[in-house]
Symmetry: C2
């Protein structure tokens, strides 16, 4: 414990943040590790020192979402009655998108990230559980479509330039309102 920990993982975090910016702009396949290194002002080998492969970098990006979904499901399962559970999930998802707008966007839109998710059973399973919980037992076509539209819309709304100027609190309330109009 002799070393100062103030900078522990600082480079790692900067790489993740820069990579995420570029992934949102150009997609994962459209972003090379060279571009990430260039924007950060380091050598490509420095990026590889922190992440063994490009896939490992993507995995590191989606990990927090897996954690968040895990906590969310724990809270939902503790809630009494399906109505309360749905409410917990909706609020948790909106909160997650607000806190991690860019990750949410690439997670839903980028085929490379979707492949990484399929390769992360933890995340894939939790996503499926969240969807099933919102879908409910024996869902009607109406609810299936509403959930599909809401899910995609929610995940991408956080990075929609049209909404960039809205204060976070307004966006939160309106996303919750939209969710309830569609899912409650």
């Amino acid at each position: 414990m002799a070393k100062p920990v103030g900078r522990r993982g600082e480079t790692r975090e900067r790489i993740l943040a820069t990579a995420l910016d570029l992934f949102v702009e150009h997609g994962v396949h459209g972003t090379s590790l060279q571009q990430i290194a260039d924007r950060l002002g380091v050598a490509k080998a420095t990026v590889y020192h922190q992440f063994a492969t490009k896939d490992a970098l993507i995995q590191a990006l989606v990990q927090p979402v897996a954690d968040t979904l895990g906590e969310l499901l724990t809270r939902a399962e503790a809630a009494a009655g399906r109505e309360a559970q749905v409410e917990v999930v909706i609020e948790g998802l909106v909160e997650m998108v607000l806190a991690r707008r860019q990750i949410a966007a690439v997670m839903h839109g980028d085929p490379a990230v979707e492949a990484a998710i399929r390769a992360t059973p933890e995340l894939a399973v939790r996503s499926a559980k969240v969807k099933d919980l919102l879908l409910g037992p024996d869902p009607s076509p109406s609810r299936r479509v509403a959930l599909s539209v809401f899910n995609a819309g929610l995940m991408l709304s956080g990075t929609d330039p049209e909404l960039a100027e809205l204060p976070e609190e307004i966006l939160r309330q309106e996303l919750l309102g939209t969710a309830r109009r569609l899912l409650v």
Copy 2:
């Protein structure tokens, strides 16, 4: 007019269809012209014989959407009153997504296609007009958010595996219903 026209542009159409399949699966940047040629069983140079560049191929894919939006706007502008105009646009968009599910999906989710759209003023302008028409004059934050969610959700719903088994007519009615719940 001596030549039979039965096969006119047949190869071209097959290339476009195969490319679109792959773009949906792996994204545009994640799909090489070699992969397209391989799946089609032709040489890469054959693809280049039909499309000078990868960009030209993308342009050819989004062109029908630009046409559809053009017709849509003409019909909307002919409608009397804003309410009727909104109705025309909603119905037209739903119809477009149903008819061109894959194109709609890559158009909204893929950064490479979005770049191509920005480079096609015709399409960019029409998309903006459609959005503005749905947004209406002096839109509230509530409507901004609802439109953002609906727009992303609609464009991606056509390729959502969760909805793959729904008959087209059911999907049409439910998408229209979702649109009206959010935008009317």
